[in-house]
Amino acid sequence: MSSQSKTAEQSVASGAANFLRNYYIYFVLVAIVALLSLANLDQFALFERGNFLNKRNIINILRVSAPILVVAGAFTLLMVSGYIDLSIGSTMGLTAVIYAMLAINGMPFVPAFLLTMLAGAVLGAINGILVVRLNITPVIATLITLSLFKGIALLLVQDGVSAIKSGGGLKMPAWFNDYGRDGVFLKLPAAFWVAVAVTLVLIVVQNRGKLGKYAAATGGNPTAAKLSGINTGRTVFLLYVIVGVTAALAGIARSSFMSLGDPLSGDGMELTAILVVLLGGTAFSGGEGRVLRSFVGALIIMALTVGMLTIVPAYYQTLVIGAALLTAAATNHLVSQKGKVS
């Protein structure tokens, strides 16, 4: 279609479609919160009696959301570049174990924290090497490391112990819980604020950073990106490392919250992350997607999960989340189809 034949009517329609596409996720969040708050939770509430919008309930949701919130942004950028990391759950489990082991053996908070982040970076780099250097399909490469990383984590805890925790002469230091549980600002723990900070940084990276733009170019049209002199391999490698680091932050948050280093604590995280990112409107094929919208997507999933716990039996949860996602995906598809002018 040539520009001359593009009528004003169409541009209004595509403007509306763009608006819908850009902001529908926020409406979804508001709608969910509204629905949940309308429900009379008195007879079911697990967390707290009373309204869903109750302060303690919200704090609880945000506390348990820290791990998914901290990975969502980096995972979005990776998917925007057209790649995927299925190993984040195992990376989380392994780094949770490493963090707990360092702590229980007497290492202070700061070095233990930094070392665990470094471990996450190394694990991410391994994914990056498999995908970029050895040219293994991302899904296969990260399925391999999903298994490998989990295997290492299980080996580390061995001896019939299911997780690294106090006992057998070793004791978790007192500070271990603080990061994931202790309210430092607005009654929310450091883990949550770190997730917010990471998200803010990644929003800037996406809007003003080389990495953000190059990720979009790599995912949108790899040949064009290469012909423009972009090192797409390095872009993807870097994104895998960043995802590894955020997965480590998620592992730290989870283990701190649970007071133990559980090798399986990240199981299923890859699916949650994919759901969250898709819910945020990121294209599975790459090129499109916003960090902020994935952050909101993560909030929606957590509101649903936790909110659901309070009003419907647990075994309905997965089904309802699936239905919610289906609705989101279908809306997204319809909206993006309408927005297309070609």
């Binding site: 279609m1 040539s2 990276v205 080389k210 979009a216 064009a224 423009s228 002199g229 499109e288």
Partner: protein
């Protein structure tokens, strides 16, 4: 070109490229002046694309040297080519749909500190360049909202603002409407005013005369001439330089064409095709000849029901198929253009490939009759002379010619009596070519109707009884094949010429 002395921006000296057994570009020497539109013409296979690949760094020359802007030029990648001063507009678009126009224009050239973009004059500069060549495009628009023509202009603007002073355009008008072509020409003229040299490759000779200052003609890998277009005496002389040799004529009438019309197409229209009508008779081989993008493949795909179309197809007195499944059931088979991706299951064996277009013939209650499949495959291997050690050989391991014979076997097994052959001998060696021609003639002699869609004139004139000349989605002319075919006339027609221009 004016009288004033213009400097040479690009010169190639003794440039040669050898492929095993073929010299694609043979000792080519010419140079291009500054700020001109320089056209590069030649038939399919004349060596134009190989030459361009060497200029863009996609291929390394076997021998010879290139000089760009006074410096020795040895690019190994499109990026190095651009740094050397040459940017290329490829046939497929290389823009990122998901980014804005401005983001595309600056892609890969941004100034940054610690990984974050910093303010620079880059954005102003590229916006300026874009505004100079096409003010109607909004730099803030997402590229996905632009038309193909506009995307192309974005690419041109990027090339121009990347510092390249030579832009190669390879068939840039192939996907454009007439109006968009005019706009592109305006853009190209503006580029020329801004000291950019454009190397323009096109099969459409009208465009070349309208736009070009100078021209280089290539034929069979050799450089024929480089001269100002004003020195060329019209289309006829240009075509003569492009053909040069006499086309080998091996056609002999087979005299077995029936009277019965097998297929009649009336007023086919698609996105590309315009009012295409023709018929095919029993035992006849008809040819569709035209250059890349003329619409040959589209005719084949429409007849096979692979693309939707407006118009009427009558096959044996009944409506033709609207889907490939229907077409096959009615007795139409297509040997598609891309053998490896569209014609064969390359990871399967010959035996497994042969029956796929007509499984009911070799199955009973959904189970293969293994013996029948083997017999059928074996028969075709013998009948078509497929050179293989066994019917269990994977088709990816066969040579191009033998692969094509397997595709033919697949079609014959479907018991079609109309065969559509799209570029039947592309990428096939000379020996196998002749064999395939013999097979095609045999099939016609047995009473099958055959339609050959080809961009090789020798092929069409070698085997077809009637030839339709295509240009720009239209059947321009129908020609009875015979010893007195006027080759220059044919080339004139398929490059968009009117009758009177040629004489």
């Amino acid at each position: 070109m004016t009288e004033e002395q213009k400097t040479s921006v690009l010169s190639v000296d003794g440039l040669t490229k050898d492929y095993p057994g073929v010299r694609a570009v043979d000792n080519v020497t010419f140079s291009i002046q500054n700020s001109v539109v320089h056209c590069l013409v030649g038939e399919n296979g004349a060596g134009k694309s190989t030459l361009v690949k060497m200029l863009t760094g996609a291929l390394a020359p076997t021998a010879g040297a290139m000089t760009v802007n006074g410096k020795a030029y040895v690019p190994t990648s499109p990026q190095e080519a651009r740094e050397g001063g040459i940017a290329t507009l490829f046939q497929e678009l290389h823009v990122v749909d998901e980014l804005t126009v401005l983001e595309n224009l600056t892609l890969g050239m941004e100034k940054s500190r610690f990984g974050f973009f910093v303010k620079s004059d880059l954005e102003d500069r590229v916006t300026q360049t874009l505004a100079t060549i096409e003010p109607a495009i909004d730099p803030a628009a997402r590229v996905s909202t632009l038309s193909v023509a506009q995307k192309q202009i974005v690419e041109i603007a990027r090339a121009a603002s990347s510092g390249a002073n030579i832009i190669i355009m390879d068939e840039p008008t192939a996907a454009l409407s007439e109006r968009e072509v005019e706009r592109l020409f305006t853009v190209i003229r503006r580029l020329r005013e801004n000291n950019v040299t454009v190397i323009y490759i096109s099969h459409k000779l009208d465009e070349i005369f309208e736009l070009g200052d100078t021209v280089t003609v290539m034929r069979d890998g050799k450089h024929i001439t480089t001269c100002p277009l004003s020195d060329v005496d019209g289309r006829a002389e240009l075509i003569e330089m492009m053909i040069g040799r006499t086309v080998f004529q091996s056609y002999s009438p087979r005299g077995k064409i029936g009277e019965k019309v097998v297929l009649k197409a009336e007023g086919l229209n698609t996105k590309l095709l315009k009012n295409v009508s023709f018929d095919i008779k029993e035992g006849e081989i008809i040819g569709f000849y035209g250059l890349v993008g003329a619409g040959k493949t589209e005719v084949a795909r429409a007849l096979f029901g692979a693309d939707s179309f407006d118009g009427k197809v009558t096959f044996h007195g009944k409506p033709g198929g609207r889907t490939p499944k229907e077409a096959i059931a009615k007795g139409i088979a297509l040997v598609p253009e891309e053998r490896r991706t569209q014609g064969l299951f390359t990871s399967l064996t010959i035996r497994e490939n042969v029956p796929v277009m007509n499984l009911p013939r070799v199955t009973q209650n959904g189970v293969f009759k293994a013996e029948d499949v083997r017999t059928a495959a074996q028969e075709f291997v013998t009948q078509l002379g497929i050179a293989t050690s066994s019917i269990e050989k994977h088709t990816e391991k066969l040579s191009g010619g033998n692969q094509q014979k397997v595709v033919l076997a697949k079609c014959l097994f479907s018991q079609a009596d109309l065969l559509l052959l799209d570029e039947p001998t592309r990428g096939v060696d000379v020996g196998a070519k002749t064999e395939i021609y013999e097979i095609i003639k045999d099939l016609a002699n047995e009473g099958n109707a055959v339609a050959v869609f080809s961009s090789e004139l020798e092929e069409v004139l070698g085997i077809c009884d009637r030839v339709f000349l295509m240009f720009d989605g239209c059947l321009q002319e129908e020609i009875e094949n015979g010893p007195n075919v006027d080759i220059a006339h044919i080339l004139n027609v398929v490059t968009g010429g009117q009758d009177e221009d040629a004489r």
